[in-house]
Symmetry: C2
Subunit: 380 residues, 2 copies
Amino acid sequence: MKNGMIECSVCHSKLVSPSTKAVSRAYDRHRSKVSSKQRALNVLLVVGDCMLVGLQPILVFMSKVDGKFKFSPISVNFLTEVAKVLFAIVMLLIQARRQKVGEKPLLSISTFVQAARNNVLLAVPALLYAINNYLKFTMQLYFNPATVKMLSNLKVLVIAVLLKIVMKRRFSIIQWEALALLLIGISINQLRSLPEGTSAMGLPVATGAYIYTMIFVTVPSMASVFNEYALKSQYDTSIYLQNLFLYGYGAIFNFLGILGTVIIKGPDSFDILQGHSKATILLIINNAAQGILSSFFFKYADTILKKYSSTVATIFTGIASAAMFGHTLTINFILGISVVFISMHQFFSPLSKVKDEQENGVLEMEPQNDHRFILGTGRV
Amino acid sequence: MKNGMIECSVCHSKLVSPSTKAVSRAYDRHRSKVSSKQRALNVLLVVGDCMLVGLQPILVFMSKVDGKFKFSPISVNFLTEVAKVLFAIVMLLIQARRQKVGEKPLLSISTFVQAARNNVLLAVPALLYAINNYLKFTMQLYFNPATVKMLSNLKVLVIAVLLKIVMKRRFSIIQWEALALLLIGISINQLRSLPEGTSAMGLPVATGAYIYTMIFVTVPSMASVFNEYALKSQYDTSIYLQNLFLYGYGAIFNFLGILGTVIIKGPDSFDILQGHSKATILLIINNAAQGILSSFFFKYADTILKKYSSTVATIFTGIASAAMFGHTLTINFILGISVVFISMHQFFSPLSKVKDEQENGVLEMEPQNDHRFILGTGRV
């Protein structure tokens, strides 16, 4: 037995050992059916993501009163979670109405309790996201925003490593290089925004800073990957029910955070609706929609596609704003996006996929048997 | 008959048609023998190139008197060609002495005349190099040196296109992308040296400038590729004899250039030895050595390896000067060299090679026959 494979004693074919850890088995069973639809779905997800991310700076601009935010930024996180919970409930009600006779009822208490028990893992990403929301503010005390932006780019590599560990995804060398190129490409785009005198890594060398950087990069990456893991491992649960749990936990954790702030800073900070306008409500809805779209990425595509999608969205926003406001595109921007597009082609090119004869062999042999799930082969 | 292949009417195997243009046949015959030695040779070439390129800025610094060059830059080209001719003659004499009895004499008039006739093609790169030496000066009137440096990076793509057309080299998509990454990586390194306000392409938009750019990029690329073509197509001729012709033509063309200058500017500019010192002689010897090493690259390796080698040399010079003079490495430099190294790995990785079943098939079939040469398959 080698790499979880066993050899058939009759025909010497390779089989996946039944003891191989099989967390996303339901998802993998599903996968073999839908590969043809997957492309169309990916395109839809990316286009939707690009539109929402593109709206973001416009809404942020509109939310400012005299160039400042009048509302507490902590309240935005909580209200966003609440909006997502409401959306999940509405979608669940619609789904339940459309159910045919004989289907397992979506809204029965037994279904709900069982799903809640199965999806308890969603509390992990919800907690990590809540921690991340607080970290963002702390980080801005330690680093200037340009450095924070630069450091965020490291997330893509951390995500890939976590996908390899948690989801057992395999990447080819070309794909690892493509991810490094994505990181470099985004960084080149941001070079102009760094202060002139910034040295080699643009980092203050305080010892604590390194630890903060580690945490700042790892926590949101872990949140995304565990979210993908939790959503895919219970593939049969409706995504709206999964979202209800995820955002429910999220709302609870954020509410606890607000309570903590109230205890420390006094009851004034409890007024979470203070300073909001129509524009800020649109901003919250946009945030919520991005969050919901993310969960579709994590369940039906993956975290890496989400990363590429956000990058492409940023690039298109850059090009659109240059076209609308007559900015010239800097040479950094052109070099950076060239690297990003090459990276994207290399990552998704069939040439760079991990060759996996094992999987095909196993799939052909016993299609009715459960031996055949192998987690995360170079799939997108 | 398709792509120069014919089908055997008995066994239906594919054969290369004897009418297929077979310019580098001697080289290709040689190639099949030496693939094991090729790696060692490549390493030697790259290390030598790095040392010579690394010496260059030190010698340039030493050649300056009060921060200026006292000698005519045109004379450097001519003297470099003369130095290369002298080296070729010395090497030929050494080679002739070491010849065993029975070997075709290297220094007989008949050998020389026949080789001269066969290698007449070397006049083409020699002329192109001479034109390029004059263009360099003209370019500096139209563009600032930083822009010239940036434009020079485009050469690597032009060289690849020319290799495809002239040498029938085939590149995989990953290899094309690797070449684009090389271009981008070098450009990122140079970003800091561009003037602050430089817009999108950093180019003046005068109509003439585009034509000059085209010529400036194409002429030296054509020179390199035709040089490779000419040296490899007469693979059996001694490289020193080939160099003698190449640099002989080069010296003649440069001398004609000097004569032209004399006619236009008067006899003062004829004193080609004016203003030279020991340091400038070392500079000329270094230039000559780089030229000679290039011919080894072109004959025994290729133009692309030469490009990568020069880039690596520039990178090591940058790192060495940072280490010696205590400069901090800029973030541009770090991002740029990361892209260059990824590009290099991707270009030379066996994963990215063009799969070529045809060649193997043909080689196995008739090893004693001359059908088997196919030009420039994804070889490095």
